[in-house]
Symmetry: C2
């Protein structure tokens, strides 16, 4: 599967989340032979969960996999990974990460992944960016909460 | 709450998981005023989940919290955090982490937390170590899987 096709699966997940009233970040874990091992999206709103991000929800949906399967797979994600998802990728030694865009959000994760030997590709995808920009404009409070950047007042204000 | 009391709550969670046939790693998120915001344990076995580690399960059980609450809390964990849990702590800007022991497992997380400004205290707790050593001896395959270090063959062998 080429990277555009992999990212398209992640984007479908992001759109699904947006349509559910959730944060539009999606991901997919795809083997080197093109098997979709898992796919998922952020579920902060849907499950009131601070740990179901696009990438972690994807790992959960992929189930318990042997280390060799993770090592030969690529994580596709619509948005540059947060620290938690960066860590999840490192824990399971996923060697390649394809990112839709990193202009609406970029944490330390991308550089840390590279530093730890992970191949990181940024697609600079317009569709991913447009959806994310729209969400941040519509629901800034939920978004701030998701990236842990502000306190209670800001959160209330953004609601 | 003093650190020994906080760690005791995390250890109770670890024991609960062990009694359920799961991986005995527990955690608790406790505010600076002593409120237990959340507690949880590894649920790889119980939920077939690769993302419910002690610390992430604790964050999930604590629910959606404002950034200011995370910032004024301490994460207690029976074992040195893996990369994913390290990342979760960084995402939510939890400023203090108290670790039961780091002799049965120590990833890059501890140093990375310190590098990113988190206060890390290692208690070198004998009770945490003994329980973890027992589990690794009894169920090496599940343990290897949890820290993503080996392939399918080793996993089967360990079962």
């Amino acid at each position: 599967m080429d990277d555009a096709a992999g990212l398209a699966i992640a984007f479908k997940e992001a759109k699904k989340s947006y349509e559910q009233g959730g944060i539009p970040i999606g991901a997919a874990l795809i083997s080197s032979t093109g098997i979709v091992l898992g796919r998922g999206h952020n579920q902060r709103v849907q499950l009131d969960s601070p740990i179901h991000h696009g990438e972690t929800a994807t790992l959960l949906n992929a189930g318990r996999l042997p280390a060799s399967t993770y090592a030969n797979s690529t994580m596709y994600t619509t948005l540059s990974p947060c620290d938690m998802c960066t860590g999840a990728i490192l824990l399971y030694k996923i060697r390649r990460v394809v990112i839709g865009e990193n202009s609406t959000f970029k944490a330390a994760g991308e550089d840390y992944l590279r530093q730890r030997g992970v191949e990181v590709v940024v697609m600079d995808d317009q569709e991913c960016r447009t959806l994310m920009e729209r969400f941040v404009r519509e629901s800034p409070g939920v978004w701030w909460e998701d990236i842990g950047v502000v306190g209670e007042e800001k959160r209330e204000e953004g609601r």
